[in-house]
Amino acid sequence: MKGLILAMLLLAASFAWVNPGQAKLLQAEYEYVACNGQFAHDFVAMRENCGLVHDAPVMDSSEYLDDIDGALADAQEAIDEENGVEYGAAMWTAKTEMLALTLATVGDTFRNKSVAFHTCVSEGTEPLKVELEECRASAFETGKEGAHEYLAAEMEQGRAEVAELEAMGADTAGMGGILAYGDGLDADIDTAFDSHDTAEVTKIYQKNNRLILLFRLEKMISIMDFTEPIIEAGNNGNKEELLEKIADLRGDTSELADECAYSPEVGAGYALKNGECWSDAFALMARFNSLQSLYWAGR
């Protein structure tokens, strides 16, 4: 019976908080990719037209375009269903299909094409690029709004978690420090999106990624510091084991938080470091969450 309740509890714990601003953030990304998809369609049509006009054989791109459209449809469906994993997979597919079409087009460029054909394609591409940039500008505007809303929701959630722990008497200084960095990140959003440079936009995501990781690590530290003396003074059946695990985990978590310290400057290797930090953090988070079952088992 106790085991069944425990299983139910753990199942409920797996329902993670979903940022209410996520849908808009993803929708903006989708709009950006849809711009690229439309450009691919227009570019292929223009190129085929040049082939007809200048009597040059042009490859059949319909399968590539179908696959790109399919990936976009999957992405939209994932957004509607708030499924971040499916969305990421759809975007990966869109990226590979775009690259595949690009490579195939480059290869086709060297097959029986006249100078006139190349001139036609070159001249036809310019207005399409203007349309592409206009379309992307609109997507970046949506993205900017989405990023502000996403971060605001994240900060609100973070403040609520801080308030919750503070009300219990926990020291939340570490969590508060990360929230202060979040305020700074919000101020960077406009500049990044207004630059229309995906590299700058990606930096915002990378910094946000690091801050969320650090906030969770600091939260774990705060909770461990808070609960340790309570467990020590209590008589949980697993008290000794709990205290030993908390002490070990506390040290490892603090070490990782130092190792993954936040920097508002994003240089080369920042994303890679994020990946390493998250990888190590997942192991710590699993150890942290396992304390719950150990705690209840000792009650």
Partner: protein, 114 residues
């Protein structure tokens, strides 16, 4: 499986979900658990509303009747804030969200032919 166990299990699950929805955070299942146990094991446990003692939370918290673990932070309340006198088991605090944030993968998709 015994029908009675299944019904009790589903009831417990519903209470847990209710706790999550009410609190709106990933760390509230413990609050719901307090409710479950409060109906049974912890019935009659003294209210521990009040300030956290300077000597430490463990010291300030009163032990639950029957030799149970002291409650997390005297007067702690994770659902609606301190002040209504309900208690919070610290076990529910050991719950951290493991879902990674958005990565901006859409902006990595190039435009073929650009």
């Amino acid at each position: 499986m015994d029908t009675k166990i299944l019904i009790i299990g589903l009831l417990a699950f519903s209470l847990v979900l209710f706790g999550c929805a009410k609190g709106g955070t990933a760390s509230t299942p413990g609050g719901a658990t307090s409710g479950i146990q409060g109906a049974g094991e912890q019935a009659g446990a003294p209210s521990t509303s009040g300030e956290v003692g300077a000597e430490g939370n463990g010291g300030a918290a009163e032990p639950v009747a029957g030799g149970e673990e002291p409650q997390a932070g005297a007067g702690a309340e994770t659902q609606t804030g301190a002040g209504n006198g309900s208690e919070q088991d610290i076990g529910g605090l050991f719950n951290i969200d493991t879902v990674q944030p958005e990565s901006g993968s859409g902006y990595e998709v190039p435009a073929a032919g650009e």
